[in-house]
């Protein structure tokens, strides 16, 4: 440990201004602060500070995403196995998923962090750790067979247009991970929707006529559609999908979004540590239920409202993306409104818009856009209330 510290101290002068690699200062600092909590001391203001920092909070979010990620890897294999009738065991399924998902992570982190490093260097800032979470989320919200070059472009778009031009982590308007997904969704719709993209290996089978590493064809009766493609009791029944299947997550879908159980584990971590707002999560669920039951009673769907919570990306979006503290509403009342509208809009899009089977992404992005407006009205009404008190007094 001390040896490493000594080595870093030795090479550090090279990376400071005027040194041999002075142009890499931010990059060097990024790695140094990754390894060591810096030796900086308080100057003005309070003399002591809490031990928590952004790195710690973000690593907790990453940790909370791990169950969804692990389940997603297994489910990728499971869906592949089911589609091609391979009769795999647990580890074979997991291994297949691992092999499919790791490249997504590599692309996500290499492209995203690369851009972060370069832009921090250009601006002469410290590297911000915000992308640790975005990079963790992005592979979980795309179909497993998304071409890597598309993912790379989407990540670049999200980081540059979604974040860096606003000034980096903390300044962005939209959730960068969702922006990456939206970019893919609108630029390459054929790779982001339909029945063939959600199961690993199927797209390749369609193109080349063979499955990954085995000669099997697709099993009879394979549909590959996500439950959202036929969101009726009958449709789900004929696909053999029960409520428990949706809750556990053994259905096709984006890598990490399917398992409500895994997401709930993550939610418990986020709520217990206080990293994410329970108000947003709770009110988003309320909004989803409200519109879900409204649709049920109006006859827009024959699924009771609570089904909306376990289908598609609702749970994942509610827990991990609507609660992004930067892009969500910042005021406490605002969070109730924001969360409710996220849930309500997502289900509204599902039920009444034939064009888009899933509405979570659009709902969150739309509410991201309006979050500052909500805050504005919450704050001005608070200011008005205070002003009124003066007049009475």
């Amino acid at each position: 440990m001390n040896g490493l510290r000594k080595y870093i101290d030795k090479i550090k002068p090279n990376f400071t201004k005027g040194g041999k690699f002075g142009f890499l200062q931010s990059t060097f600092e990024g790695f140094e602060t990754f390894l060591f909590v810096p030796d900086t001391v308080t100057k003005r203001g309070t003399h002591v500070k809490d031990s928590v920092d952004l790195k710690r909070l973000l690593i907790i979010v990453v940790l909370a995403l791990v169950p969804a990620m692990l389940f997603g890897m297994w489910n990728v294999g499971y869906q592949h196995d089911a589609a091609f009738g391979l009769g795999w065991g647990f580890w074979q399924m997991f291994w297949y998923g691992l092999v499919k998902v790791i490249p997504l992570y590599l692309v996500s982190y290499i492209v995203g962090l690369g851009i972060e490093f370069v832009s921090a260097q250009l601006k002469g800032h410290e590297i911000s750790e915000g992308y640790l979470v975005s990079g963790m989320i992005i592979p979980l919200i795309v179909p497993v067979d998304v071409p890597l070059w598309m993912l790379a472009i989407a990540v670049a778009f999200a980081v540059i247009i979604g974040k860096e031009i606003f000034g980096g982590t903390g300044m962005n308007i939209w959730n960068p991970a969702l922006l990456a997904r939206a970019f893919l969704f609108f630029s390459y719709p054929s790779k982001m929707s339909g029945d063939t993209v959600w199961t690993g290996g199927v797209a390749r089978y369609m193109a080349e006529g063979k499955a990954y590493a085995c000669g099997n064809g697709i099993v009879d009766g394979f549909s590959g559609a996500t439950p959202l493609a036929h969101p009726t009791l009958e449709g789900l029944q004929s696909a053999g999908t029960s409520f428990m299947d949706l809750f556990i997550g053994t259905v096709p879908g984006s890598v990490g979004e399917t398992s409500v159980i895994a997401i709930l584990i993550g939610a418990a971590i986020l709520l217990f540590t206080g990293v994410a707002s329970w108000k947003i999560m709770f009110s988003s669920v309320l909004g989803g239920l409200a519109v879900g039951y409204l649709g049920y009673f109006c006859g827009a769907t024959d699924l009771p409202g609570y089904w909306q919570l376990v289908m598609g990306g609702f749970a994942f979006g509610t827990v991990f993306m609507a609660t992004d503290p930067v892009t969500s509403a910042q005021t406490e009342y605002g969070k109730w409104i924001y969360g409710f509208l996220v849930g309500a809009l997502a289900v509204t899009v599902r039920l009444w818009n034939p064009g888009y089977p899933e509405g979570m992404m659009l709902a969150i992005l739309l509410m991201n856009t309006f979050a500052p407006l909500i805050d504005h009205y919450v704050i001005s009404s608070s200011i008005r209330r205070r002003a009124k008190k003066v007049k009475i007094a």
Binding site: M1, L4, R5, T33, L35, F36, V37, P38, D39, T40, V41, T42, K43, R44, G45, T46, H47, V48, K49, D50, S51, V52, D53, L54, K55, R56, L57, I59, I60, E126, S128, G130, G167, G168, T169, G170, M171, F272, T273, G274, V275, S277, P325, V326, Q330, T331, E332, D375, I379, S382, I383, R386, V390, A393
Partner: protein, 452 residues
Amino acid sequence: MSNNIQLKQGLNIPISGGAVQKTKKDVVSTVIALKPTDFRGLVPKLLVKEGDEVLCGTPVLADKASPEILFTSPVSGTVETVVRGEKRKLLEVRIKPDAEQKHLDFGAKKVNDLKDADIRAILLKSGLWPSFIQRPYGILANPQARPKAIFVSAFSTAPLAANMEYVLRNETDNIQTGINAIAKLTDGGVHLSLCSDNFNGTPFHKLENVIFHTFSGKHPAGNVGIQIHNIDPIRKGETVWTISLMMLAAIGKLLNTGKLDLSRKVAVTGPKAIDPCYVNTVPGMAIADIAEFYDNSANDIRFISGDVLTGKNVGAEGFLGFYDNQVTLIKEGNEFEMFGWAKPFRTHLFSASRAYFSWLTPKKLYDMDTNTHGGERAFVMNDVYRKVLPMHIFPVHLMKACIAGDIDKMEQLGIYEVLEEDIALCEYVCPSKIEWMSILSSGIDLMLKEMA
């Protein structure tokens, strides 16, 4: 006791090194200093020169803006040096005390016979006028103004703060005299806030001529700014004054005896303090005069006049501030910590959040140091701050208004009501390591400039 105000938000920082209730010694000062920098916005005018003899109560400085506000010597002695900084800014007037203390006699008074103007005159002349802090902005009180009310906090919740009952245990009569005097300066009365947990245990609940309030809650419940906000918030155009019990006692002593007596009990505290307890001294005491409380051979101690949240880093050569009755000694944390943020446990560190596990050991005290535990970032989290700020304001938005220099927004978001000490905890818990107090200071400075 009827209208207890319970504050749910707040945080008591579990730092080790609280002072035990004993007085170790009377500090024999080799030199003391008067520091114009203790007073916000003061442009001082020097009234003495090096080598002058001064008595206890002799004017040393005056306020250039209102020359009737005098700053007097707390001891009798000889002006040793006048320390100036950049652009010849006056930093300290150092006075070497005489062995035998001589006081300027201001004449003992009966408060009942005094009128508003008489009280103002004697406070201005004796150098006790700066005891008042005027809000908004926390500046020296305007001698012509008649404040809406005067607020006093009779307890402190700051980390390791001196115990008020102990340091003022024989001063109740003087405090009463002081209250009777300052009550004539306002129509709104003197509001005294007590801690509800200790209501019957404190001698201060027997004070008269005051309007009592009781508070319960964690720090900053003892901050007078928080109390004002929850009793009667400051509106635009209003002025209120605040004063500490310690300065009230000094005013009482002045009126009762005719002599300026700023002597006070000072708590020497902090993880680096050896045998933390109290000493008798005067404001401006040199830190070097309490050398037996610390061992700075490793040169790793930070000397703070005040508490760890709002105190000033004065250094080993520094002096106690005018308003302070606490010295805190903590370690400079200029060390790297390998994988600090990634370690599951960091049992030697405290966190108010549940991101670490210090919530499992709620009674533990920590040897805190000055490390920032992370680099500065933009605002990311938004709900951690209101948990430690018992005020109905939007702290992050106020900060952003200060950064943007938007005066209208600052006004609407409540800049009249807050001082640095009130939001110090926000800075403490800030995961983005933003310097809240400096940002607020710059906002207040802008307000002072624009509103002048």
